[in-house]
C-alpha cells in the first residue's frame, strides 16, 4: 500500500507525521510515553542497580569488598568478640563483629564488584533510587541506613529458557 500513495513532497510528510503525533498524544487511548514523576513513579526493572543493601548479621567484615572496590568508597571497621560456645562445654569461638560499614555513594560508580565478590551474601542490589541529598556529606550511608535498604530487595524473578 505504501508505494501506492503519491509521494507527498518531503516537508508535507513531515508535517503529516507531526499532526498524527499531536492526535496520538491528545487521544486518551494511545500509551503515554511520559511518566509524570513527582506524582507517578516509574516501575524500575527488578535487576536495576539503584542502591546497595547490607545484611549486618551475614557480614563477617572479611574486607574483601573494601579491597576490591576500584573507587575506594567502602570503609569497614570491626573487632573480634567471644561467642558463647555452640555446644555446652565446647570451646568459645571468636567472631568478628562489625563496628562501622560505610559506603560513600558520592564516590561509588555502581559497578557492582563488591556485591559479586562478597562470599557471605551480605550485599544485595535494590532498584531504589530516591536517596539524593542536599550536601555531599549525607551521601555516606552508615550500616543502619544500609540495613534499611534490605527491605526493598526484590526476590529472584523467573528466567528465560
Amino acid at each position: 500500500m505504501k508505494n501506492f500513495r503519491p509521494k507527498l513532497p518531503g516537508f508535507l510528510t513531515g508535517m503529516k507525521i507531526l499532526l498524527f503525533n499531536m492526535f496520538k498524544t491528545l487521544s486518551p487511548f494511545s500509551p503515554n510515553p511520559n511518566v509524570n514523576y513527582p506524582f507517578e513513579k516509574e516501575i524500575v526493572a527488578p535487576r536495576a542497580r539503584g542502591v546497595i543493601a547490607l545484611d549486618q548479621e551475614a557480614c563477617t567484615s572479611c574486607m574483601l569488598c573494601a579491597r576490591q572496590c576500584p573507587d575506594w568508597c567502602i570503609y569497614i571497621e570491626g573487632h573480634k568478640e567471644l561467642q558463647p560456645p555452640t555446644k555446652p562445654g565446647g570451646r568459645q569461638r571468636s567472631r568478628a563483629v562489625l563496628d562501622r560499614f560505610d559506603i560513600d555513594y558520592a564516590l561509588c560508580m555502581y559497578c557492582g564488584i563488591c556485591v559479586e565478590v562478597c562470599p557471605f551474601d551480605a550485599l544485595f542490589w535494590t532498584p531504589e533510587y530516591e536517596y539524593s541529598e542536599y550536601n555531599m556529606g549525607d551521601m555516606l550511608h552508615d550500616k543502619t541506613r544500609l540495613d534499611q535498604w534490605l527491605k526493598t530487595v526484590p526476590e529472584i524473578e523467573g528466567l528465560e529458557s
Partner: protein, 326 residues
Amino acid sequence: MIDGSEILVKAGIVLAFALNGAVIFTILDVKGASWMQRRPGPLHVGLRGFIFPLAEIIKFFQKEDITPKNVDTAVFKWAPAYVLASVFGLFVVVPISPTLVGSDLDLGVFYLLAISSLSTLGVLTAGWSSANKYSLMGGIRAAGQLIAYELPLILSVVGVVIQAETMSLVGIVEKQIEWGLPFAISGQGIAFIIFMIAATAEMMRVPFDMPIGESELVSGFLTEYSGVRFLIFYIAEYMNMFIMCAIASTLFLGGYHVPLLPVEWVNFYGPVVLITKTFLLGFILVLVRWSFPRFREDQLQNLAWKILIPLSLLNILITSIMKVVF
C-alpha cells in the same frame, strides 16, 4: 477636533487586543509543540499549564535586567522599544469588523508595510550594541534577512491592492465580500503563499531563524538580553506572529467575512471569524516551525532574490492584465 479621551480608549483596546493575542499565540506555539513532540508541555502552572505565559511574564519581571559592562548602553537599552513599537503600530489598521478598527486609514496597506520594516532597525541595533561576537553575527544576519524579505512581502501585497483598487483594509475586505470569494482563491493564490513565506522570515521563525540560530550563535542578538528587555523581545515576537496572521487573513482570506454568512450581521460574527482565521494560520506556522530545519543564510538569500521576487513580479503582471481584461 479629536478629543484625547477617544484616542486613549482606542489605544487601550488595541493594547489589550495585542497583548491577549500574543499570550494566546504563545500558548498555541508552546502547547502545540509539546503535543506534537509526544510530551505534555507545561503542566504544573495552573489550569493544566494553560496560563503559563502569565507565569513567564511575572518570572521575567522579577529577573534581574543585566546590562553587560562594555555595551553601548543607550542603544542597548532602547533596542527592544523599536521592535515593540513597530509591532504595536500594525494593530491600528487591522479591521476586526467594519466599525471596530483603530482608525481606517485609506493608506492602510502602505502604512502597514512602512511600519513593519522598523523592526529591522531594532534587531540590528540590538545585535550591534551588545558587544558580543555572537550577537554581532546574529544582528548582521538579521539585517540581511529582513531586508531581503521586505521586498517579496511588499510586492505580494501590491497584487492584492491592484485587485481591490483601494489601499484601505476595510475597503479590501468590502471588495472581497462584493466578489463573494476571498482573494486567496480568486487570483491571489501565489501572492498568499509568498506573503506567508516572507512573513515567516519577517518573524524570524524556524525555517528562517538564522539570527537566533541557537545551535550556532547561542541565541543570536538576544544573547546579552535578560529580564524585562528579553520579555519585550519575546512578547514582540509573538505579537508579530499574531498580527502577521491577522493581516494575512484580512488581505487574502476575506477578513471578518465568510462567503456564506449573511452580510447584515457582519458586526456580530466579524471578530469571531477573523480570530478563527488567524488561529488557523497560526497553527500552520506552528506546524511549520516544528517540522523544518534551518536554512543556511546564502540559501535563504537565494530563495528571496531568485524565487520569491520574480514570482511576485509575475503575479503583479498577471493581476494587472486580468484587471484590464475584466
